[in-house]
């Protein structure tokens, strides 16, 4: 069911040409979230997906080999939690990612840890546990592809992908 939702929503966004699409991908990989059947709306509208992605920020970044939330990360997650508490029709999947400086399996585990750190924080701020799923991509889906810290720092991320919930 989830997969079907993703495919439909990805197609919808492609159709209006708002973002680059990869219809094969099961999620956003941090390249921009997707919402079932709706347009992102305006970044100035606090209920819009665009506001979530651009104004609040849909991702938090991590230090090398760490999953501790930085003060910046906490402030972004506070914003995400508030948005989610207002917009109860949505659920989220948090994708955890690592940079390429690690072995694959360890990075899968590290990505899981990062996604979970963000998940735990959202739940601690009152977002219902069953609205927050996690998945790890390890180092399989880098956002930036250079091999320097400039890229690596953007790849060590947990991205909150908003999806249409069961009630919508």
């Amino acid at each position: 069911m989830v997969n079907i939702l993703v495919k439909l929503s990805a197609a919808a966004i492609c159709a209006v040409g708002l973002t680059a699409c990869d219809t094969n991908s099961p999620g956003g990989y941090g390249a921009g979230g997707v919402v079932g059947g709706i347009q992102p709306g305006s970044p100035s509208d606090p209920t819009s997906l665009a506001y979530f992605q651009q104004t609040i920020g849909d991702r938090v970044l991590f230090a090398v080999d760490q999953s501790t939330l930085s003060p910046e990360a906490i402030s972004i997650l506070d914003g995400q939690a508030n948005w989610l508490l207002q917009s109860t029709q949505y659920v989220v999947t948090i994708e955890g990612h690592a940079d390429e400086q690690g072995t694959r399996e360890y990075n899968l585990a590290l990505g899981a840890r990062r996604a979970s750190a963000a998940q735990n924080y959202l739940v601690s701020r009152g977002v219902a546990d069953n609205r927050v799923k996690t998945v790890t991509f390890g180092k399989e889906r880098p956002l930036e592809i250079c091999s320097t810290e400039a890229c690596w720092s953007k790849n060590r991320r947990a991205v909150t992908i908003v999806r249409a919930g069961l009630g919508s």
Binding site: N3, E100, E105, Y106, L108, A115, N120, T136, R141, I145
Partner: protein
Amino acid sequence: MKHILAFLCAVMAMLSLTSTIAIAQSKPLRIEVTKGVIEPMPFAAPVFVAENAAAKKYAAELTQVLVADLTGSGLFREIPNAAHISKITNFNAPIQYPDWKAINAQALITGAVSVSGNQLIVKFRLFDVFANTALGDGLQFVATTNSWRRMSHKVADAVYSRLTGETGYFDSRVVYISEEGPKNKRRKRVALMDYDGANVRYLTDSKSIVLAPRFSPNAREIIYTSYETGSPRVYLMNVDTMKSRILGDQPSMAFAPRFSPDGTKVVMSLSERGNSDIYLVNVSNGRKVRLTSSPAIDTAPSFSPDGSRIVFESDRSGGQQIYVMSTSGGAAKRISAGKGRYGTPVWSPRGDMIAFTKLYKGRFHIGVMRVDGSREKLLTASFLDEAPTWSPNGRVLMFFRETKGVNGAPSIYSVDITGQNLRKVNTPTFGSDPAWSSLLK
């Protein structure tokens, strides 16, 4: 393994050697695998004799693959056909030892090929030129013609074994991840190939990310991680039928699977609420037993060949390090002791060593150590070397090396456990996560 070979592998009772049997050397012709070979042993392998017209198209190629196997090991050097004084036109004719001594061929391999219907019959003999004698009995292999490369590998394994005193590794396969496309959108497929990169076959399509396939002990099944459901799960696939299924009940993310030596169980990591631990899963009924329960990352488990212990990596002491525990779980002993981070430990099929990936000062290395962590030896160094896998005889490792930068891409390499003979394995696409099979039956 569609074309399963019913190998007869029959010893041809001495193949009636007509040459005079010379007095055996006090020391047999022997090359030491473990010492690090400085001077490869020179050998001659005249093109195998085609004993009938249908065999002609196989004889030359079969000999070529045999020669490529032996020279590729780094232990042997071929004296090319152009330098040969004697020509072998009859498999049973006496060997003209002086002709082979004159070109300094220490070992001579002669062979003959015949085809009968779709059956290929290959005979060979090995000679110790300077001792004027045959080394072991002649052997004959029978298989279907489309498996001709395996015949070459079988002959090469027999030669390797007689000259090194160790079992060979040429008649084996490698399962790996084929990768295509840009770095941020890699399309990955599970692929199967002969150990030398021939006969590539794709086992999955590129719709889902796939990772780290590994063979069952008899090489008929593989286990791998796939994102088919959107989240990493461990799948079991029969490589003949290509049918796959999720192994057991995996409520959470699962990865890093490896078979037990008897093939009845799989160890893997399950990650729940950000914590990855190691579980033992029964292949037939899916029942699982939790082996670690630390809040650390515990992953990359690998069995000892006797099935009694498991080596794995954990960051329970702060950074990634290598630990050994009993197959029933319980206390784990850290074995890696050097500076840096250690991951992807794999137990040698001989039981004597652990291969690993080491990260130190921004560089990646493939290395080996004794099972108690002593005698660490780094074999490679690059921007990113990762994921060693052992040859069936525990003398060679394959791994993958990823290049740096926006066009960075992985390729599969092999290296001897001495650190010599680093070679790229040619694959049609980028390749990563190789896993070597046992010797095929």
